[in-house]
């Protein structure tokens, strides 16, 4: 079961989002574990560019045929880019959640918040 790809360099939330940090820009997505648990994703509900998000608070939702799941921001900041490809093709989240299926890019307010996130070894333990 646990053949999920969990890159060492990413950060993780207990709610199964990942965050990839490039200076103050954080790319956010959901983990392979999350997409597997959801099943076929049919709809993604994301905020618009310019929207402010707060660490640990909801910023959108993902819907599969069988369930709706809220998305929680891994860091606080401003949404600077939304993955428009997901509107046309939400299945990207099933096929490639760690790369092509990214959700949004956030300009992070404070690097300090990264300390509240998990690294790969802890996330692996969480989903075991």
């Amino acid at each position: 079961m646990s053949n999920f790809h969990i890159p060492e360099e990413y950060y993780y939330t207990k709610d199964h989002e990942w965050a990839q940090v490039d200076e103050n820009i954080v790319t956010v997505g959901i983990t392979e574990y999350a997409q597997d648990a959801m099943g076929e994703i049919v709809y993604v509900d994301l905020p618009e560019e310019g929207h402010k998000v707060t660490q640990g608070e909801g910023f959108g939702a993902i819907e599969s045929v069988k369930t709706a799941s809220d998305l929680y921001a891994p860091v606080s900041g401003t949404v600077i880019e939304v993955n428009a490809a997901l509107n046309e093709n939400p299945g990207l989240l099933n096929d490639d959640p760690m790369n092509e299926g990214w959700l949004l890019r956030i300009e992070m307010d404070s690097e300090k918040e990264l300390a509240n996130l998990m690294r790969a070894p802890d996330y692996k333990k969480l989903i075991k």
Binding site: D15, H16, E17, I30, A34, D36, A37, M38, G39, E40, V42, Y43, D45, G58, A61, I62, E63, S64, V65, K66, T67, A68, S69, D70, L71, Y72
Partner: protein, 409 residues
Amino acid sequence: MGLPPNPNKGPNLSLSAKIDPDLTGLGFGGKRKPFLTLRGFMSSETPLLTPLFEEHTALGAKMVDFAGWKMPVEYEGLRAEHLHVREVVGLFDVSHMGEIRLRGPKALESLEWLTSNWAGKLEPGQAQYSLLTNAAGGVVDDLIVYCMEKGADYLLCVNASNKDKDLLWIMDHHKGCEVIDESAQWGQIAVQGPKALTLLERLFSSEIRSLPSFHFAPFQFQGAEVLVARTGYTGESGVEIFVPSEYTPALWRELMSRGEDLPLKPIGLGARDTLRTEMKYPLYGNELTDLTNPYSAGLGWVIKPDKKDFMGRAQMLEAKEQGLKQKLVGFKMLDRGIARHSYSLFSFDNQEIGRVTSGTPSPCLNENIGIGYVDVAFSEVGTEFFVDIRGRRIRAQVVKTPFVTPKGA
């Protein structure tokens, strides 16, 4: 992201009922028999495995905890499985369903008191959809009653999530019959879809075809007697087969192998839920609860107050005569969004007018559909209202149900 917090509920399938003993007047301190174990009742317990657990694992199913059982939620994918049942034929493990037997000279008298439909008209080999009702006129469970011997022997097929509750309820309120929990003895396999009878003919005999809907008959399988019933939860043609637990894996494999060319595919609980939603078949815990008036749920056709007295009859009728406040309707989303269980419904002038009980994208219609209770004024086909989806108001419209009309059923 907020994946389902309660592992016992599976991926928010909402297939299982939350059981609140205080709501039900179950009387847990009453006549509960000491030998009863509340299997599947406590979420902390290790899930039960059906006789087909190893088959599912071998087929690569995604397994989830559901109503105390480890069940396959999907194999190749919910949508493909759903469409396959509508177009060809699918195989379902429904061994988690409960089987309760009422036997003895007072079996019928007990059943008439406990259930809303007219069990007295059943002849051996006939089955009936019915409701186990409570003293307030609410619904303890919905079930199918199979008449084994008129007056004296009935098999009840009940929801897995309610089996223990039902058993306690029946033991407390029967009129002096034997009440036997046969759930562990029976596996159950459903075969559903336009080609279901083609497959069954191969295994049993062409007599299967002459078996009318809601009839059942015994057939031999490898020396065991199985009960083949023309019932189902998909709206398609097909059967549900009661098979002794020890023969269940052999029957599953035989069906899989004899149906390979059709092709027959295994179907998970996920598609079982979307298939029943397209038919607007109620699911206990969603459309039905201990507090539901069955008339509101549109189940007047299984309530026979003219034929007999039964538990909660007067209360149910009184509520109906006072005028039902809400009705269960089917709706489709007019704008983008999926209604989910427990979302609120609002009128365009912002009054809360109801609640969603079930909602899903419909694989057959490629539209998002839902079921919910609405104030009677909003229950006419064509009426529009809002579904509150995460704080946004999305338009929906009441439509005729079932949402889908199966071709082969």
